[in-house]
Symmetry: C2
Subunit: 242 residues, 2 copies
């Protein structure tokens, strides 16, 4: 530990901040729905799947359930969502369900993400601090060329954001003081939780994460340490050469 409060590491929310989960999941869900003659909009299906995300993690955050990785929650949620659209999950083979569940491993980065991360990586330790599990983050990074220095996040600390433990334990793993770590996210709630733990905060605007009619996270709701239009802009603000 040192009293130096200059940023040494940047931790990134991933779903929505670095990659477009909605477009990616819809792209993978579309052919599945067609194959099964399901008259459901793929984007609507993606939104429904995502709506189960936070309640499923809340079971673990609250202590009512032991930690399981996000792949497991995504799979349970998928079965629920199929049912909600009147589809019997038993009519789909296990292999096909598993394959569809991997949609979350194959999300595309926003156009600025790879370039921004490459610039930031030259000056800082960069790692995801996502609720996604390690294998999910590895598959995504290999496919999309996300140049992480390490895969940190929920599975390493066995807790889900925004539990304070996630930010605190990750900072401790990095051997840094909280003020040497900056949380980067498109979500005010994530940044608020990080700030509570003493981390620096960077808001990145992702105005179409939830589609053209997005209502949430369209502006910084607190004066965060940095507010950026995208990851390239953040790199510029942090003094990283192009």
């Amino acid at each position: 530990m040192t009293m130096d409060s200059a940023i040494k590491a940047l931790l990134f929310d991933v779903f929505g901040t670095v990659v477009d989960w909605r477009g990616g999941v819809a792209r993978e869900v579309g052919p599945f729905l067609s194959r099964h003659n399901m008259a459901v909009d793929a984007t609507e299906f993606a939104d429904a799947w995502r709506r189960e995300y936070s309640p499923a993690m809340e079971e673990i955050r609250s202590g009512r359930r032991s930690f399981v990785r996000l792949d497991v929650l995504h799979k349970e949620n998928l079965v629920k969502v199929l049912r909600s659209f009147g589809i019997d999950a038993d009519s789909v083979t296990a292999a096909e369900l598993d394959e569809l569940n991997l949609a979350w491993h194959r999300l595309d980065p926003w156009p600025d993400s790879v370039e921004g991360l490459l610039r930031l990586k030259r000056q800082f330790i960069i790692a995801p601090l996502s609720n996604g599990n390690i294998r999910l983050m590895v598959d995504m990074a290999k496919r999309a060329a996300l140049p992480w220095d390490a895969i940190l996040g929920a599975e390493v600390v066995r807790a889900y954001k925004p539990s304070p433990q996630v930010y605190a334990d990750t900072t401790e793993i990095l051997g840094l003081s909280p003020s040497q770590v900056c949380m980067v996210a498109a979500h005010n709630g994530d940044l608020a939780a990080a700030r509570q733990c003493g981390l620096k905060t960077a808001f990145v605007l992702r105005p179409v994460e939830h589609g053209p009619d997005q209502q949430s996270d369209l502006r910084a709701e607190q004066p965060w340490d940095y507010e950026a239009a995208d990851l390239n802009d953040l790199a510029t603000q942090l003094g990283c050469p192009t």
Copy 2:
């Protein structure tokens, strides 16, 4: 899980297999010894420091002590070794001790390591499965351009090799069956433990890890799945183009 037993991920021992710990530590210890007018050979000091490595971890493997990361053990061992050479650790500032302890974060790769890993990375998930902690591995990788897909190892599973839990839990994190994972190491003992857990095994000869008079690990002591002269040779044997 699938019955496909083709290798999907390669896990690497790091100290000795990917990097030259002895040369690197001696290089960092040298100036420290000179500064303090200590008539001790830097390589002898490195060897003495490394001799404390396994006994320190054994306290944790045996359950006599809770898990602490390797940086902590290295620091305790450093104080012991200084004392064994007649040097009072209290005569050295805390900052200087901490800095010297970071020698393990600044080890150079063997000449074939980076090229070999880059070739292997195109075809497999590659990650360290080292007893080194996450920050140590991150610092080393950034300095030496080791292109890991993730940082796995002792700190993620909170146990030290060769405890079976390390290999088993890491395989589970990767969502793979043991036969889809190959342990790569210059140490027969590491490979034997991995094989006990069902992993595939690749022996890499590092005949001067312990210097010119090395007696151990000069040959494969079991018929491992692969035996390679270096990481480039392993990449070739595994069908990775140059």
